[in-house]
Amino acid sequence: MNCKEINESIMDRYFDNELNADEIRELREHLSNCSQCSSDFKSYRKIVDFQKTRLSLASSSIGRDKLVKKLKRRKALPMQIAIGFAAITLSFFGTKTYMDFKNIDNRYKMIVDKSVEMMVSTASSENPVSKGIKSASAEIENTTENIIDLVNDEE
């Protein structure tokens, strides 16, 4: 076992726990006589230990609480969307129904107005029908007055 072999493969296999007992013994012998390889091993171990400490920070309850809050918001989101959608739908149909009623009301009003208008225009025009209506209404008016006079005389 020489320095090149150690650098090229033995060290990797050591850190991967792939060396057999004989190879480990041979490696130990080499390291006790070679300061450079020994230093390479120690420094690699040191930096790995350093990284282990640096990276293994305890999980924080603040981070967990933050996550839980986010997840609860996400969980509630479909319900919020459903409620929002229902509110929009209700207000849309509510408005439509109100407008429909209003339109119907307007339509009736329009029909009555048109009818009155037609009756007035018919009564005021000079065609035979309107003349007939006029004379009939005048006759009714006279008859009514005569009846009223007779009733008054009898009293």
């Binding site: 390479d40 420094s43 690699y44 930096i47 990284q51 293994s56 999980s59 981070g63 967990r64």
Partner: protein
């Protein structure tokens, strides 16, 4: 209970408690996510810290668990749950790196930075502290000189102790490639240690 290392080695078939745990995650049970955070945030944070070598670690952890929440329904159990989770972690880290490059922000670069010189101090305990601080700064400088991928490979293999096969699934690269990448990352790290005179 399902720590990354144990999980990776006994991933198939999954234990009943792990199946129940995954089912609870799929049902969006908040308590299961609390447990997920408690059990995995260390390793997820560790990968993020080594990969990004910068802040934003808590943001990465949050994003990883949110992605689990969104996509755990698609987890079919073809791989160990931990493998699937670490793969998400690596992808989130990559997304964060892209975000950095888009913002043209550079992660602290020690390229030309010299290892800081500390004045000698007479007090022995102070001397130890200074030496420890000096070593810490040197190690951080050395780690930052490795590429993100090299740091990730060393973290997954030597820090977290995951096996090559699992690493290959996490980074989505062939087993042979992973082995050789880890070999060269270790070699680079050893050369940097030599260069910085760390013994």
């Amino acid at each position: 209970m399902f720590s990354g290392k144990n999980d990776s080695k006994s991933s198939h078939p999954k234990s009943d408690s792990e199946k129940k745990f995954i089912a609870a995650l799929k049902k969006k049970d908040i308590r299961a996510y609390e447990r997920l955070y408690d059990e995995y945030s260390n390793i997820v944070g560790g990968i993020a810290r080594s990969y990004l070598n910068a802040g934003d670690v808590e943001d990465v952890i949050q994003e990883v668990f949110l992605r689990v929440y969104k996509s755990v329904k698609r987890f079919k159990g073809d791989s160990a749950f931990s493998t699937w989770l670490y793969r998400i972690t690596v992808n989130v880290c990559k997304d964060f790196l892209k975000k950095y490059s888009k913002r043209s922000e550079t992660v602290v670069d020690f390229e030309d930075e010299e290892v800081p010189f500390k004045e000698p101090v007479s007090d022995v305990s102070v001397e130890h502290k200074v030496a420890a601080e000096f070593e810490r700064e040197s190690f951080e400088a050395i780690m930052s000189k490795l590429s993100e991928d090299d740091r990730l490979f060393i973290t997954l293999r030597d820090i977290e102790g995951l096996d090559y096969e699992e690493i290959s699934k996490i980074v989505n690269k062939p087993l042979g490639t992973v082995k050789s990448r880890i070999h060269y990352a270790r070699k680079k790290l050893r050369n940097l240690l030599k260069k910085y005179g760390i013994e």
